[in-house]
Amino acid sequence: MSDLVLYLLVFGTLGGAFAGAAILVWFERRLLGIWQDRLGPNRVGPLGIGLALADIIKLFAKEDWVPPFADRFVFIFAPTAIVMAMLLGFTVVPYTSELHIADLNIALLFFLGMTSLAVYSVLLGGLASNNKYALLGGLRSAAQMVSYEVFMGLSLMGVVMLSGSFSLVDIVNAQAERGWFVISQFFGFVVFLIAGIAESHRLPFDLPEAEHELVAGFHTEYSGMKFGMFMLGEYLGLILISSMITTLFFGGWLGPGFLPPIFWFFFKTFILICFFILLRAGIPRPRYDQLMSFGWKVMLPLTLINLLVTGAVELWL
């Protein structure tokens, strides 16, 4: 790949991710509107798409304020961490067999590492705010993300076993031979899906912010673009998780040949994003301790059994 193409790809990914996140805010609200028997934003521009732009202008134009009681440096650093981590996560996503920024031989581990870094953002944001609601939100997120991290990683080991590689390109290529892993690794898929929602802390796993309990949780004290970064991070996370599920379980760019591979990749990712939004419209929020016990008592055993069975099948069959 020439340098020029690489640069284009990097900036394309960067711009695409930002634009995607901005449009997603509008798209989610429209979709929720349809599902919830109401209109949603439909005034600014055609179908209300101008709202994405208006939101950005609003966030940028707001006063950049740090509460006097907050830990200034950490308070400013926290929202940038989540955006950085999520953007770095995008570097390993293969759009097609040719089109990817980096095909690392440890891409999967790199992705897991980057999403884990995002927890610092939430934790530090909650801590630095010096606000009781934010503190409780930060505490919850630390517990939630650390425990869901465990089986998020473990749930992918089945995929690694089947494809024999940590490289995402190899994993997709393996699916061309062995069929989409969503079938052979169904339990791994379910666990990764749930852990993925928990990682991007969206409803029903939005306990760190839990509007009805903790006002706005860890970002209670944030406003303006610093709040915007958290929101951006959340939507980037949503896109990233969706594209990872596509890559790992739904055969990435693989699809019928009448359309280019890159279309199939984005199409699958888009469907998954819609699914995540639908979840938000449909499911109540479990209690914090219920979430934890669900994680450790149901998800972890499920992951381990899945791993055991996959290993056994690979070894003896």
Binding site: W35, K132, D206, H212, G282, I283, R285, P286, Y288, D289
Partner: protein, 582 residues
């Protein structure tokens, strides 16, 4: 009528038998509730003696009697404390009054006999300066802690123009804020124990799920609620004080705003009490229209509850569906009354207008539409396993606790107590309707929601009966105190014209007396206890709202649970802060 009179005599002789050494002074009231006066030294003994029979302290309020003219046959008094006891089991009431004088305005506190007396006594102190000795924490409850004077005293100004202009400078703001600071020591709380230092979290007065301006200070150990102190009064608008300046008629719109989700349901006990005082017969058509409108508002209020209940446990969508159904309902209400949330549509002696042409089509459409929606919501919300997990066995109280804390309405029926004022003490013609009273037995948050959901179905049943059997006839009474009087009768002879002129310019004069009427409102038992001094406005209007005692028992049912559970409990109580603070 005669049956009730017999009961009065019975209670009189019974009480004299029960307390042979205590002088009891009996009073006749328009509502036929046995009422008697005792001296303050005997109040504890009397209430203790009455408690086995009357298990609930339904209401406790003060009255400033100093400017009251019509006091024939009543013992002298400057300030009167009224204890209203109710028995749910025996379905009867009794009212005990204690006369106090300005020189020593002390009365023994009864918070150890009836636990819910705590807040009521604070309110009476706040409003009248009545000093309840031995009260654990006699401080302001509805008015700001820095308030000067006692608002419901007759010598306290009733309007802003009678007072100096209000200024809130920075100094004053700091002072007010400092006064609101929570000090755990005032409430007998410890800042830490051997293992841990507690966190005190100020939940509210502005918080997404406290449904208005309500503050709960939580003592937290991690996320566990060790103790909680509910703080009310942020929504206090002096509704009872306003009643003393408005005419009987012009106060009706104020009642709409007490339980602002209940609309005309609030008008009902108020006009019923006036009608009882003045002996105004209400024609059957007006009664049926009232029942129908009241049930519409019960559905509307319960729909808001249903949606916000689901929302507070984190389900985003139901609230939108329920609000759009409520919108359909408001369209009917708008067609009939011209108003939506606060139509102020009931009148003394009837309702404001007859039903419009075509009302029955709209109502029938709604009745056909709603059951399918409810079945849908059932699947979406009530049968959702996460919602069940979040609300089952959360915020449990027993039957006796419900009685002890004055819990009424759906919250009471969720504990298995089968009592509904509409069925057991019918008013406004409810005896003619056929409906079930939903009762559940666990007394937890889920069952409280269940009762309300089932009540929507029952209300639909009642409305259908109104629709099918709407009597013909007048929509308001022909009695001369009906306000406003029938227009047709004003233009023909001088007598009716003068009546009309006076009642419009000065206001209707309601005969002197006392009367309290209780109805089954959307949130529980709501009573308007009116005292008329033979004037154009009420001498004292006491509004006993159901939400007030419901909030008082929040600490009891939330100790040892988590913050998320507290939110579920708050959602399941279904209160409206305007209903609490008045």
């Amino acid at each position: 009528m005669s049956v009730v009179a017999v009961q009065v005599v019975d209670v009189e002789s019974e009480l004299t038998e029960l307390f042979p050494h205590i002088a009891l002074h009996f009073q006749r009231t328009a509502d036929e509730i046995p009422t008697f006066w005792v001296s303050r030294s005997h109040i504890r003994e009397i209430l203790k003696g009455l408690k086995p029979r009357y298990e609930m302290l339904f209401d406790l309020c003060g009255v400033d009697e100093r400017t009251r003219n019509h006091r024939v046959g009543l013992p002298p008094s400057d300030f009167t404390v009224v204890y209203h006891l109710t028995s749910i089991r025996h379905n009867c009431d009794v009212r005990v009054k204690v006369a106090l004088f300005e020189s020593s305005i002390d009365v023994p506190s009864v918070h150890l006999i009836f636990l819910n007396a705590n807040w009521y006594e604070r309110e009476a102190w706040d409003m009248f300066g009545i000093n309840f000795s031995d009260h654990p924490n006699l401080c302001r409850i509805l008015l700001p802690p820095t308030w000067q004077g006692h608002a419901l005293r007759k010598d306290h100004p009733a309007r802003a123009t009678e007072m100096d202009p209000f200024k809130m400078d920075f100094e004053r703001q700091d002072k007010e804020q400092e006064a609101l600071r929570f000090r755990p020591e005032d409430w007998g709380m410890k800042r830490k124990n051997d293992q841990t230092e507690f966190m005190f979290l100020n939940l509210g007065p502005n918080h997404p799920s406290v449904h208005g301006v309500f503050r709960i200070v939580l003592q937290l150990d991690g996320e566990l609620v060790v103790d909680a102190v509910p703080e009310i009064g942020y929504h206090h608008r002096g509704a009872e004080k306003m009643a003393e300046r408005q005419t009987w008629h012009s106060y009706i719109p104020y009642t709409d705003r007490i339980d602002y989700l209940g609309g005309v349901m609030n008008n009902l006990p108020y006009v019923l009490a006036i009608e009882k005082l003045a002996g105004i017969p209400v024609p059957p058509r007006a009664q049926t229209i009232r029942v129908m409108m009241a049930e519409f508002f019960r559905i509307s209020s319960h729909l808001v509850f249903y949606g916000t209940f689901a929302q507070d446990v984190g389900q985003l969508s139901p609230v939108f569906y329920m609000f759009s159904d409520r919108e359909r309902l408001f369209r009917i209400i708008e067609a009939i009354t011209g108003g939506r949330m606060h139509p102020a549509w009931f009148r003394i002696g009837g309702v404001a207008q007859d039903l419009p042409r075509g009302w029955d089509v709209m109502v029938r459409d709604f009745l056909d539409w709603m059951p399918a929606r409810l079945a849908h919501y059932e699947k979406m919300a009530m049968n959702n396993s996460i919602l069940k997990q979040r609300t089952k066995n959360i915020g449990v109280y027993t039957q006796s606790e419900a009685m002890e804390w004055g819990v009424t309405g759906p919250g009471m029926r969720a504990t298995g107590i089968d009592f509904d004022v509409r069925r057991d003490r019918p008013y406004s013609g409810y005896e003619n309707f056929d409906f079930e009273v939903p009762v559940y037995h666990n007394g937890d948050a889920y069952d409280r929601a269940r009762v309300r959901v089932d009540e929507i179905t029952e209300s639909l049943k009642i409305i259908r009966q109104c629709l099918d059997n709407m009597p013909a006839g007048m929509y308001k009474s022909e009695h001369k105190l009906t306000t406003p009087p029938a227009k047709e009768r004003t233009m023909y002879d001088i007598e009716t014209l003068i009546h009309h002129f006076l009642s419009v310019s000065w206001g209707t004069v309601i005969p002197a007396g006392e009367c309290g009427v209780t109805i089954e409102a959307t949130k529980g038992m709501n009573m308007y206890y009116l005292t008329s001094d033979g004037g154009t406005s009420s001498y004292r209007t006491r509004i006993r709202t159901p939400s007030f005692p419901h909030l008082q028992q929040i600490p009891l049912i939330s100790r040892g649970l988590m913050i998320a559970d507290l939110i579920a409990i708050i959602a399941s109580i279904d209160f409206v802060m305007a209903d609490v603070d008045r």
